[in-house]
């Protein structure tokens, strides 16, 4: 059983109604992740990286046990190794989705073959990461999954500081200034704004905006971001699009 839930129940018992009210308004402050992974080193790496961002993680080693634990609604996302003892990862996802559990799943596999990825996504996985991975890449993807989980409602407008994006009218505005964006730039900005405050790696950006999963060379995404930045962050305005060295980009209001 989930520790937070039992802790939470105990807290209710101790402090009574007031705490319950607080908990209802802010039910999930700390996301919880379930790591289904049989390799200790990889599991430790994932856990450490998540912990560095204040995300708690539980770990199971076995596929069957993983499926049982994943049914617990206290988990906000699952990282799942596709090659597991007991039950393989694809069966775990299929089992989860059959039960109607929609917790987002980040599949992690040593196989980089496109077919493997397609099979995983078809089975109901949400994202795919090839081993070995950079932990920050993994973290960025988990955060994106968590964000997606929270954004179930269709938004028609995105706003970060004085930057506004109208998804219906396909228009963008910075302060009073209307921005004229090319279709690709619009998609890129939409992605960054949907994940405002969160680091997006170049690979994630390339996948999400262009829909392709090959290595387009290091500076291609940089050039596209550079163009967008010129339009979004004109002189005299606060910088919104930030470069995160060694990782990728983040759109955020700095103060």
């Amino acid at each position: 059983m989930c520790i937070s839930l039992s802790l939470y129940v105990r807290l209710i018992e101790i402090s009574g109604t007031m705490l319950v009210n607080i908990s209802i308004t802010e039910p999930r402050q700390m996301p919880r992740i379930l790591i289904i992974e049989d390799d200790d080193v990889t599991a430790d790496e994932i856990a450490a990286e998540l912990a560095s961002q204040g995300i708690y993680a539980d770990r199971v080693v076995d596929g069957r046990e993983g499926l049982a634990r994943a049914a617990d609604p206290c988990y906000d996302a699952i990282t799942l190794d596709l090659m597991l003892p007991g039950m393989d990862g694809l069966s775990v996802i299929a089992g989860l989705r059959r039960q109607g559990i929609t917790t987002p799943v980040l599949m992690i596999s040593a196989l980089s073959d496109v077919d493997e990825r397609v099979r995983g996504l078809r089975a109901g996985g949400d994202d795919y990461l090839t081993k070995p991975f950079a932990p920050d890449e993994m973290l960025a993807r988990v955060e994106a999954l968590l964000r997606r989980q929270n954004q179930q409602v269709q938004q028609t407008q995105l706003r970060v500081a004085d930057l506004e994006l109208d998804l219906v009218r396909h228009s963008a505005r910075r302060g009073n200034q209307k921005l004229s964006l090319l279709p690709t730039e619009f998609k890129l900005l939409e992605l960054l704004m949907r994940h405002a405050g969160q680091v997006l790696t170049r690979a994630m950006i390339f996948e999400a905006v262009w829909g392709y999963r090959f290595d387009p060379g290091t500076n291609l995404i940089d050039v596209h971001i550079g163009r967008l930045r010129k339009k979004v962050d004109p002189a005299g305005h606060a910088m919104l699009i930030h470069t995160v060295k060694g990782s990728g980009y983040r759109l955020a209001q700095t103060d």
């Binding site: 496109v114 077919d115 932990p135 290595d215 163009r227």
Partner: protein, 458 residues
């Protein structure tokens, strides 16, 4: 014509020619020997006979001699024998020979008169004769002759027999040989066709082996065993490379993670940051190279065409153009796109985009600022072509075959960052599709053409 000369170069044809020549020579010697034996025997017999006859006639008395000489001529059918009676001065007295040949010795010895004799009916012999002259008791000269050309005629018959024999043996032999070489030549042709894909690098192919088990099959068997061994060794080498790349990726990724964490710990503006950044860039380059290497392996093993669908090539080119336009503009380059209406092709959309994107990225990388890169598609009957040309330094003609090899970089490109794997990825993708990649000349700079053959070349 070429095939005909090829055919005469086969072992069978050569053996037949040698046997033919040998047979002709041997036949000639045998026939010559027989001829020589027969002729000398016939000559000896007729010479002997002529000598005896001459002495016999000279011993008879006149009436008996006249009678015997008459018999001598009339008892033979083919007018081989002749005689003449001359007075002491050589004037004709009687007989079928009109003129006593000049210079003949009148002692009963037999002489060969190659030009024959003049007969009393005015005719001159056409063949040589043997003759013997004796002086009779009354001083007259008796000349008897015998046509010995029969030996030569036998020789002619034997020679003719030899020619017929030779032609009846050698002509069908050569013809048969020519027909016999057809089978092996057809198989050589089959082997030649089978080696084409092997020479292009498809080591999984083997030479055809028939059920005959003859020398060609033995040879094909040996070559096939050799190919298997080469394939195994190459596979092993590639496997080792892939394993190294695969195994090194994990520690490299961890190294990069540690560097990243260190950088985070020190903060972005610390003294160590720049060094750490440089370390990370190098690690990234290594990781990128390993990824590309494994990607090529993956593509080479990607035999299935599961991801194949009808794809709009024009759309892909437009996407690639849009994707790389900002990059080109950043380098003050013009990125042109010429797109006629193209039929859709059967391909893997993602792979094709990856290949095109690699080609365009390469062209942009090697073109100096202010240059031009052009993506041009043209329709052809057997599938559209995509030409990607640039105004860079170009690829020297002698290095064009090499640039698609793993890690190969031209001399001039060594100073540019890169792994030398981009074109290998492209050529692996091209191979998956059964397309062709040609590297040629543009007015200036490099020209890489991809032919999206609609008809499979293999």
């Amino acid at each position: 014509m070429r095939r005909l000369t090829d055919r005469w170069r086969t072992t069978t044809a050569r053996l037949i020619l040698i046997y033919g020549a040998f047979f002709a020579l041997w036949g000639g010697i045998v026939i010559g020997l027989i001829y020589w034996q027969a002729a000398s025997y016939l000559t000896r017999v007729s010479t002997d006979l002529l000598g005896r006859q001459a002495s016999y006639f000279s011993m008879l008395d006149a009436p008996a001699r006249a009678h015997a000489l008459n018999d001598y001529v009339s008892l033979q059918t083919r007018r081989l024998n002749a005689w003449g009676m001359f007075d002491a001065d050589g004037h004709h007295l009687a007989g079928t020979i009109a003129v006593l040949p000049h210079g003949i010795t009148i002692d009963g010895s037999v002489a060969l008169l190659p030009r024959g004799l003049v007969r009393n009916d005015g005719r001159t012999d056409t063949t040589g004769v043997r003759a013997s002259a004796v002086r009779l008791g009354d001083g007259n000269i008796l000349l008897i002759s015998r046509d010995t050309s029969v030996a030569e005629r036998i020789g002619t018959i034997i020679l003719r027999a030899l020619l017929w024999g030779l032609s009846l043996t050698v002509v069908p032999g050569l013809l048969g040989g020519w027909l016999l070489t057809r089978g092996p030549m057809r198989r050589v042709q089959m082997i030649r066709e089978a080696t084409q894909p092997i020479m292009r690098g498809d080591l999984s192919r083997r030479l055809p082996v028939s059920r005959h088990g003859d020398e060609l099959d033995m040879l094909a068997g040996i070559v096939n065993t050799m190919l298997s061994e080469i394939e195994r060794l190459l596979g092993e080498v590639k496997g080792v490379c892939d394993n190294i790349a695969h195994d090194l990726r994990t520690p490299l990724t961890r190294l990069r993670t540690r560097l990243y964490r260190l950088q985070q710990t020190f903060g972005e503006h610390s003294d160590e940051s720049a060094t750490l950044e440089a370390c990370m860039v190098d690690t990234d380059a290594l990781l990128h190279r390993f990824r590309a290497l494994l990607r090529i392996s993956e593509l080479e093993n990607h035999q299935r065409r599961a991801g194949f669908e009808q794809v709009d090539l024009g759309e892909i080119l437009q996407e690639v153009h849009a994707l790389y336009l900002p990059l080109a503009e950043d380098r003050d380059q013009r990125l042109e796109l010429q797109l006629p209406i193209l039929p859709s092709i059967h391909a893997d959309r993602h792979l094709l985009l990856e290949a095109m994107s690699n080609l365009v990225a390469n062209a942009i990388k090697f073109t100096p600022p202010g240059g031009r890169v052009s993506i041009r598609a043209r329709a052809a009957e057997d599938g559209p072509w995509v030409d990607i040309s640039d105004s860079g330094p170009g690829i020297p003609a002698d290095q064009r075959d090499m640039v698609t090899r793993r890690f190969y970089r031209t001399e001039s490109s060594r100073s540019t960052p890169g792994s030398g794997l981009g074109l290998s990825i492209v050529s692996a993708i091209v191979a998956v599709h059964g397309y062709a990649l040609e590297i040629g000349d543009s007015d200036c700079g490099a020209l890489l053409s991809m032919h999206c053959c609609t008809v499979a070349s293999d």
